[in-house]
Amino acid sequence: MALLDIAGLTVSIDGAAVLGPLSFSMEPGTSLGLVGESGCGKSMTALSIMGLLPERARLAGSIRFDGTELAGLDDRAHARLRGRRMAMIFQEPMTALNPVRTIGDQIAEGLLLHGLGGGDVSGRVADIMARVGLPPARFPQALYPHQLSGGQRQRVMIAIALAMQPALLIADEPTTALDVTVQLDILGLIRDIARENAMALLLITHDLGVVAAMCERTMVMYAGRSVESGPTRAVLGSPAHPYTRGLLDALPTGDRIGRPLRVIPGSVPRAGDRVDACAFAPRCAIVGPVCRERTPGFTDLASGQTVACHFADGAGGTGGVGRTGGMNGRTG
């Protein structure tokens, strides 16, 4: 049985649709990368699962987690799952920790709350801190967040998430706010911890390189919907959607030194502007008349990819594909 099964999920804020309809599922212990530009609904997806959407947001559709329907669940019932069965690491470690409480206290809090500490909560916290690279000798539990660097604080966040051995770990841009030099350490730590504890990992990022290194499967999102999903190797190796191709094309790589970066013209449509058409049509290189009339359905490709493009089967848009091509051998 799937650990997480999302079907027809939509989120709207003040009547404007900001997400969906979105459907995907995750098996226990697997990893999925959610990729896309800012505002494409990646974080909204994570917050929907966690039950942490802003109060004005309205959610519809189905989120089945571990056999429980999360859509419509009240805060109290959702809170019992949060932390214990699902945990989340946020983007901004500088502000995600409470400045007036010690780190040991903040790691222990979830354990105490869910009654998971056993007899020796402090000892358990020390073990967890050691595991995330904060050895007790150098990092006493009595430290406050302001006494730590950004990378160290993100380790504390990971410790908080790890403490309760959740079945699902959501990481929302966990390294975006960090120095490049510590990004790899933190990502490696998240990947190892997820593997060791057989946690499913839902990684949200706009960095295709991160997805390539971390996730078995990838889902590319655009304007609140999935445009392409499948095994990471296939999605990044032979992208079938023009948006995925555009993202890969925009990456600066060694063979293009000295040449201007390629960009996808235009910008993401505003929430609420979305109509019955392919949302990517205004920016698409291979757009045809049908794209402005109908929202594309999903096409399953032999490679395992699922693509939402009228030209996914290569029927009609091949000339355009050639123009944006040149993707060979860049799987990262």
């Binding site: 809170a79 989340m88 502000t95 409470n98 903040q106 809090e109 406050y144």
Partner: protein, 316 residues
């Protein structure tokens, strides 16, 4: 940390010195001759001159100021013209009224203001929240002496539960004494509680938007628990600052409230000293109030250190 204390102590002394200077100059500029007040309008010129000499009023201004400050520094207070007893005795007599009154008022304001503000923040936009906001607006706007009169009308005149005024003393037990301070304390606390409630509400709402509250909820804390355990401790930092400032308003309020309720406290003593040109009593009392305010703010600074570990950096 030690440096912090030394610096605070230094500013404390400086503030008190400035306060004493201001008090002295203002009283010096005040029209009215204490000797004339004591002897009445029919006094002979030479009797007046004799009394002035006895009171030291004939000496130059700076000499008198230095003598006064010197006395204060040695802990010697003046002697009241009107009561003809040492000011220290007057204060000792009245402190058992004013101190519990101020503490009760501040306690009531805190006990009502902070929980009500946090409660309203948790229910932002609901009827309860709107009601709290409207009531607190009223509480800020209503002058406390008028509210005091309303309290007297209700609890003393109509219901007969509490005395309308006066101080029972502690002879019949602590509770009987404090009971006669209850209504005045309420009247004093009302505007403070209202301000605290509004401030706490906005501070909690701000804290609720912080990422760490989301982290707390992601750990499994329900919305309300995250508010109490994570948003509130952070929200209290600005609230405590204002509480320190409020305390000086509260002390000023006692002058009015003690008069409304006929309480023999410091506030009433100050009022009488002004009316009777009892300058020695007055200046000592005003410096005492200034010292109280400064010391309370010093305590607030210590509370800060306790509330906000980021300020303790120097101790590390």
């Amino acid at each position: 940390m030690i440096l912090f204390f030394v610096r605070r102590l230094f500013t404390l002394m400086l503030t008190l010195l400035a306060a004493s200077l201001v008090v002295f100059i203002v009283l010096e500029l005040l029209p009215g001759d204490p000797a004339a007040v004591i002897l009445g309008i029919n006094a002979e010129d030479d009797t007046l001159a004799a009394l002035r000499a006895e009171m030291g009023l004939d000496r130059p201004v700076h000499e008198r100021y230095l003598a006064w400050v010197g006395d204060l520094l040695r802990g010697r207070l003046g002697r009241s013209y009107t009561y003809d007893v040492p000011v220290g005795e007057l204060i000792a007599e009245r402190l058992p009224v004013s101190l519990p009154l101020a503490v009760m008022a501040m306690g009531l304001a805190t006990l009502f203001g902070i929980p009500v503000g946090a409660w309203a923040a948790a229910r932002r936009g609901t009827v309860g929240d709107t009601l709290v906001m409207a009531t607190s607006q009223l509480g800020v706007a209503v002058p406390n002496f008028w509210f005091a009169i309303l309290l007297i009308l209700l609890f003393s005149v109509r219901l007969g539960w509490l005395p309308a005024g006066g101080f029972a003393g502690y002879d019949e037990g602590l509770l009987a004494g404090l009971a006669s301070l209850l209504m005045p304390a309420f009247a004093l606390a009302l505007p403070q509680a209202a301000i605290l409630a509004r401030l706490t509400r906005s501070a909690v709402l701000e804290a609720l938007r912080e990422d760490y509250v989301r982290t707390a909820r992601a750990k499994g804390l329900e919305r309300r628990r995250a508010l109490i355990r994570h948003a509130l401790p952070n929200a209290l930092i600005p609230v405590v600052t204002v509480m320190g400032l409020q305390f000086s308003f509260l002390l000023a309020g006692t002058i009015i409230i003690e008069n409304v309720f006929y309480l023999p406290g410091i506030g009433r003593l100050i009022f009488q000293a002004i009316a009777q040109r009892d300058l020695t009593t007055l200046r000592d009392l005003v410096v005492l109030l200034a010292a109280t305010v400064v010391i309370v703010n010093f305590i607030v600074d210590l509370l800060y250190l306790w509330l906000d570990p980021r300020l303790r950096r120097g101790r590390g």
